[in-house]
């Protein structure tokens, strides 16, 4: 870590055509945007210095979001407002800077801080849902144990999915949402474990649910939108989740 730098967290939204840009390319995009915006970012040492930048949680290709975060370190700090405005002028359609926050020195980096993420999931045309799917989903969530096998890098692992679902509810997708053409239809709201060791994808939850009904959705049937990404300011036992940028 460079000395005497200021830690800054940036929150952004991603929607429309750019939802097809993968995580690594989004990082490259921001590296270039920071240069275009003339942000006084700190660089690492060495022969090929790179910007000190760390992303909270990768978003899958095809998903939209209004709760993406990354941290940078800066050599000088004009103001949150100015950084936000300068960055916003360097954006393309579909990526908006939502907030900029100077962080206290002791704040952990964005990636390590992530504890959970909330999602709204819609169903595209072509998804043949059972008439009573909403009731059945409530029953599914009411179980104490939802036993699943999760594929990990090391192999397969059995776990209780219920422990990783912090909230689940049927929710109407608002008309003005970033989820194209989904307005006014019912979708599924979920708050899921998104920590580096226990990340659960919203599609995994719904695939598990529909599997239990014997229903198979089309391959790209789900439209996933991330609402926000959270850190835990409570304890292991008693979670208190707040967005990565929040007002005390």
């Amino acid at each position: 870590m460079a000395e005497n730098t200021i830690k800054v967290r940036i929150k952004f939204a991603k929607y429309g055509a750019v939802k097809f840009i993968g995580h690594l390319d989004v990082m490259r995009y921001f590296q270039k945007a920071i240069r275009r915006a003339g942000i006084d970012i700190a660089y690492s040492g060495g022969f090929s210095p790179h910007q000190i930048m760390s992303f909270a949680s990768p978003l899958s290709v095809g998903h939209t979001s209004e709760g993406e975060y990354f941290d940078i370190e800066m050599n000088s700090f004009p103001s949150e407002e100015e950084i936000k405005n300068r960055l916003q002028t360097a954006m393309v359609e579909g990526i908006d800077i939502l907030a900029v926050r100077k962080l206290p020195d002791e704040e952990g980096n964005a990636m390590a801080s992530v504890a959970a993420a909330s999602y709204l999931v819609g169903f595209r045309e072509g998804c043949q849902l059972p008439e009573d799917w909403e009731e059945r989903l409530k029953d599914f969530y009411a179980q104490d144990v939802i036993s699943v096998v999760k594929k990990t890098k090391k192999g397969e692992k059995e776990l209780n999915l219920k422990e990783s679902i912090y909230e689940l509810a049927i929710r109407e997708i608002p008309d003005n949402s970033l989820m194209d053409g989904m307005g006014r239809r019912n979708g599924v709201y979920m708050l899921l474990n998104a920590s580096s060791g226990g990340n659960i994808k919203p599609s995994f939850v719904l695939d598990t649910f529909f599997d239990s009904l014997g229903v198979t959705l089309p391959e790209f049937g789900l439209l996933v939108h991330r609402i926000d990404t959270y850190k835990n300011i409570g304890s292991e036992q008693e979670r208190k989740l707040v967005p990565l940028i929040w007002e005390k």
Partner: protein, 623 residues
């Protein structure tokens, strides 16, 4: 928000969907009802290749500076999307508006290498534009071809309505004004093309007929309209410091081949290597001013956010203000943590010093392009690089800490003998020996790594070797085998790695490069039989090509291995690239006499380019 031409379901299925969504930084959006001309600019290969091409960026920027024009981009859909579009009847679209290409006024296709000819047909086909110019209606876009391959447009002329010969900066305004006028007067497509044929640099293939002699060579070209030129002279920018150049090039989301700011420092080359087409086509050499390059470098870096800048030219070491430019760039780039990449520098004390400043010596390698293994053959090809210079450059480099050397050679050059081929191995060996002499044992970190690569020589139009026979595939492979054997018999063979190019594809490239109008039907047929992305070895279908030539009654040796007589009329002779045929013939004879020719800076050879009254031709000669 823009609506994409492809559904989410399709975009999720294909590899790298970002190839098809547009919306990149600096891509230009206009309102279609506020422009009068819609131009789709195409590079007929995959996005990452097409987006790396400077020429399109220049034309795109220029056309979009015209208020009445909206220029958009289109590339070849990759094979996965290609299959989906055919199956689901989705028309090819432009990246910016996502509108079908068929709705455009113009489709401009840049043709940079022979192996993309079938992709031209892919783009037309997916767009729903008839493949043959003669079958197109008033509703279809005017299909324009440009780029280096259009210096012999005849093998694919049936697919184009119009060719623009030469540098794009000069005549597009006139061409578009003529188009608007014809549209206003409700004149037909044919009427527009007939009038366009009178604009300098514009070639309308359908307005000429060609007759052949019994031996298959050209007898005569017959213009089918009164008042159209018999010879079409290339277009050229006379003042390269006061012209169009993009200050805000498009920045792709995904990693492309050329993922950096590209600063073209000059056009043309003084060297006159006899195998090199670019060295003749872009004469005379014209330098951009230092002031222009400094201004553009800074603005382009600011407008793109790229972390690297690269100098582009055929031979950067020949740029007269190179030290000043590099000093400027090193200073500017150091404060912004920007990398400088320096291709095509001659290896000497100066360039090693510069490279030492801008690159990590341990990670980079040095490149020499001797092109031929012996001094005799280097004289034949007029490559003024001597063994002494290569060995001295290597010695300096090894002293400076470099341990990797790349060497480029060609096999199958005119007059080549087994001794010349052995020379490749011997030169590689000598460079390795220089390393072991120069670097004491205790300072070595393993062996020196020398990579010798050979490509097969393919004679190209408008070069002194346009008369030369090309080798057969068997001869090519035998030469590669001889090279390999010679390398393995060297003392330092363990330090030398040898790579060679595919022979099949070199034969096809040779056929297409010096082809005539008779090849149109074969290219069309090969495409119909599934050939596409021929430049990608995994999709290259040599059997289908060879079978197609046979079906079409085309003898490939007529185009490749045949020696052309001094007085033969070539398919491309009606084009004037600035360099005269007499000059090229003189050079061909000098090559056979193994005699080198001084470069443009040393002494004017009267190639013909001086008539453009610009660049090196206007400077005093002699050093």
């Amino acid at each position: 928000m823009r609506k994409l031409a492809l559904s989410d379901e399709i975009l999720m299925q294909v590899e790298k969907p970002a190839r098809y969504i547009g919306n990149e930084v600096n891509s230009v959006m206009k309102k279609k009802n506020e422009v009068q001309v819609r131009f789709a600019m195409c590079f007929p290969d995959v996005y990452e290749i097409g987006m790396s091409h400077l020429g399109i960026q220049i034309i795109y920027d220029m056309l979009n500076q015209f208020e009445d024009v909206w220029c958009e981009r289109v590339y070849s859909p990759w094979v996965d999307l290609d299959a989906i579009m055919r199956k689901e009847h989705i028309p090819l679209f432009a990246l910016e508006s996502q509108d079908p290409i068929k709705e455009f006024d113009f489709l401009g296709i840049t043709i940079q290498y022979e192996m993309c000819y079938t992709n031209i047909l892919q783009v037309l086909d997916l767009s729903g534009i008839p493949l043959l110019s003669k079958d197109r209606s008033e509703e279809d876009p005017i299909v324009i071809g440009g780029g280096p391959c259009t210096y012999n447009p005849e093998p694919f002329c049936d697919f184009f309505d119009l060719f623009y010969i030469g540098e794009g900066e000069t005549q597009y305004r006139n061409l578009l004004d003529l188009y608007k006028e014809c549209k206003r007067k409700k004149e037909s497509r044919r009427e527009f093309l007939k009038k366009a044929a009178r604009i300098p640099g514009i070639y309308i293939p359908s307005l000429y007929d060609v007759t052949y002699k019994e031996d298959g060579t050209i007898d005569e070209r017959i213009p089918l309209e009164e008042g159209i030129p018999m010879t079409i002279t290339k277009e050229l920018v006379t003042d390269v410091s006061d012209t169009y150049y993009p200050k805000k090039p498009v920045v792709p989301f995904i990693k492309v081949t050329q993922d950096r700011v590209v600063l073209e420092i000059q056009r043309g080359c003084i060297r006159g290597c006899r195998f090199c087409q670019a060295g003749q086509l872009y004469r005379p050499v014209r330098e951009r001013s230092l002031e222009m390059l400094e201004t553009y470098a800074v603005e382009m870096l600011e407008n793109t956010g790229h972390e690297e800048i690269s100098l582009s030219s055929l031979s950067s070491s020949d740029y007269s203000k190179l030290p000043e430019l590099l000093d400027f760039l090193i200073e500017k780039c150091d404060e912004r943590k920007i990398n400088i990449s320096l291709p095509s520098l001659r290896i000497d004390a100066f360039s090693l010093d510069v490279m030492n400043k801008v690159q990590d010596v341990k990670k980079s390698s040095l490149t020499f392009a001797p092109e031929a293994g012996s001094q005799r053959l280097r004289n034949v090809i007029n490559k003024g690089l001597t063994e002494e210079v290569i060995l001295e450059g290597s010695r300096l480099a090894f002293e400076g800490g470099w341990t990797r050397v790349k060497l480029y050679f060609m096999l199958g050059l005119p007059t080549e003998t087994p001794e010349d081929i052995r020379g490749i191995a011997e030169l590689s060996n000598k460079i390795a020996a220089v390393f072991y002499e120069t670097v004491p044992k205790e300072k070595r970190n393993g062996r020196v790594q020398i990579v010798a690569s050979t490509s097969f020589f393919i004679p190209k139009p408008f070069t002194p070797f346009q008369w030369a026979p090309q080798c057969t595939k068997e001869e090519f492979l035998d030469k590669a085998y001889q090279t390999r054997t010679a390398i393995t018999s060297q003392l330092n063979q363990k330090s030398i790695k040898y790579n060679w190019h595919e022979a099949d594809v070199s034969v096809l490239e040779g056929i297409l490069a010096r082809g005539d109008r008779k090849l149109n039907q074969a290219i069309l047929r090969a495409y119909e039989k599934g050939c596409m992305y021929d430049a990608w070895s995994e999709y290259y279908k040599n059997d289908i090509w060879m079978e197609t030539f046979e079906e079409c009654g085309i003898d490939i040796s007529f185009y490749t291995t045949r020696t052309r007589g001094d007085d033969e009329i070539f398919p491309w002779d009606f084009l004037d690239c600035g360099v005269t045929k007499q000059f090229l013939l003189r050079e061909w004879h000098r090559a056979q006499g193994e005699s080198a020719t001084p470069n443009c800076k040393m002494q004017c050879q009267g190639c013909g380019a001086a008539r453009f009254q610009t660049g090196i031709c206007m400077e005093k000669k002699g050093e």
